[in-house]
């Protein structure tokens, strides 16, 4: 038909938008009354007391120099190194990281790397290493695709988004072949085939 098919892929900025709902600890530098948002109330802000706010708010406050960000416990050299070792030890499993770890790390490193994140460069390098080792595992998973189901625990949002076009198409194609008896010469074509769209680079 004439219109385009809705694209099930989520764009990277959308993933980052979603991750910005995650709560993050900050230490405000200015006093401020409780803020009453539609999605919830946060405050009062009384320096130097720690408080949790959504990441999008933390980012805004940080940009206006109204808070220090306390990086989450996992955004830490020792922790990430341990996760990397874990990834190496388990070639067929993924270690548990927050679902949006890449997006959260990206936002935090962008707005607070200079003063709030210790050893930001090493953190960044470890994240890159983790990403690469997990990415190659995820891609190797394509061999396991079958027309019934595939379990992919602990994959993160960005990682799922990257393999989705390829994996879904493989799944649909296998399903089609299986449902096709030998009496059919061709494929039933009243179903749409899903077109792979380009993958996202982080």
């Amino acid at each position: 038909m004439l219109t385009t098919k809705p694209n099930p892929n989520v764009a990277l900025p959308e993933l980052e938008f979603l991750a910005e709902d995650t709560l993050i600890s900050i230490i405000p530098t200015h006093r401020m009354d409780t803020l009453h948002f539609i999605s919830g109330s946060y405050g009062p802000f009384k320096p130097p007391n720690r408080i949790e706010v959504p990441l999008w708010l933390a980012r805004l406050l940080k940009k206006k120099r109204r808070c220090h960000i306390q990086p989450p416990a996992w955004l830490d050299v020792t922790y990430l190194q341990r996760k990397y070792d874990e990834e190496q030890r388990q070639p067929d499993r993924f270690s548990g990281l927050p679902f949006a770890y890449m997006e959260i790390a990206h936002v935090l490193l962008e707005c607070a790397a200079a003063d709030d994140i210790p050893q930001a460069h090493t953190v960044q390098r470890l994240l890159q290493d983790l990403r690469e080792i997990r990415q190659s595992k995820a891609r190797a998973g394509l061999a396991a695709v079958n027309p019934i189901y595939l379990q992919m625990d602990n994959l993160s949002a960005v990682e799922i988004n990257e393999i989705r076009p390829m994996f879904c198409q493989a799944f649909n194609q296998l399903q089609r072949l299986e449902s096709q008896g030998p009496e059919y010469g061709g494929m039933p074509n009243n179903y749409e085939s899903s077109q792979p769209s380009s993958s996202y680079q982080y």
């Binding site: 038909m1 098919k5 709902d21 539609i38 999605s39 949790e52 999008w56 206006k64 949002a157 879904c168």
Partner: protein, 246 residues
């Protein structure tokens, strides 16, 4: 003193960052491992969170991934639209006041933009589906029942425009027997229908236990498991909010 200001998620609820013992990070992460919508409506030391925005976000993502049109969330969109209107008035009032209030108004405004983005995205992905599968949806009671009043009106009008266009540009010049738009020939139909068996990625929200995804295949579905499955095999679970599409 941290506890005075209330923690909304379980992430630090159990954590005492100042304590001597090293906190078990994996345990702390349990809360953070969920996707975007696990925070319940809670009153906790004066802090509260409202589930509606999270619910709508999840509704949008489900709609985006599902091959077929899902039931319209009338109440949710209505409630949030009203809250957005009220908050807009508050923002206007704040902007009139001092410079300090203008900063707070800017923060509120940012949240409003986020919510409006989710509402818009949700409505847009639905309209895309309605346009795509108009020949099926506009003549299926089941699908019409899943639409909002506005969407139903749109579907009817879009269908007539679409048919008129095809007739005027081409079909009316053909013999009458070739003018139909919804013919079946063998197992080939002229009507584009969504493939309900297409693959989706889902995350389990509550322990489901053994679930039959096909006649012969049963899977143990536990909270936080992620599966690549065909949409029709997990449609029931989506209806009962046991899973979300990601």
């Amino acid at each position: 003193m941290d506890e005075d200001y209330g923690d909304v998620t379980p992430i630090t609820h159990d954590a005492h960052p100042g304590a001597d013992a090293e906190p078990n990070i994996d345990e702390l992460l349990q809360g953070a491992l969920g996707t975007y919508g696990q925070i319940e409506t809670t009153e906790f030391d004066g802090n509260f969170t409202n589930e509606d925005v999270k619910k709508l976000t999840r509704t949008w993502l489900n709609e985006k991934q599902a091959p077929d049109l899902l039931p319209y969330q009338d109440q949710l969109v209505g409630d949030l639209t009203e809250m957005v209107q009220n908050q807009l008035q508050l923002v206007d009032a704040l902007q009139e006041e001092s410079a300090g209030q203008a900063f707070i108004a800017m923060l509120y405004q940012s949240e409003l933009e986020r919510i409006k983005f989710v509402i818009r995205s949700y409505l847009k992905v639905r309209l895309q589906k309605i346009e795509r599968y108009i020949m099926l949806y506009a003549s299926s009671e089941d699908h019409l029942a899943r639409m909002s009043l506005g969407e139903r009106a749109f579907a009817v009008r879009y269908k007539s425009l679409f048919e008129n266009h095809l007739h005027k540009t081409c079909l009316d010049k053909l013999p009458e027997s070739l003018r139909s738009l919804d013919e079946n020939n063998g197992n080939i139909s002229m009507v584009t229908v969504p493939n309900l068996r297409s693959a989706v990625v889902c995350r389990v929200l509550t322990n489901v236990g053994d679930y039959a995804i096909t006649e012969t295949e049963t899977v143990d579905m536990r909270k936080d498991n992620i599966f690549l499955v065909s949409y029709d095999s997990i449609q029931n679970l989506l209806d009962s909010h046991s899973i979300e599409l990601i």
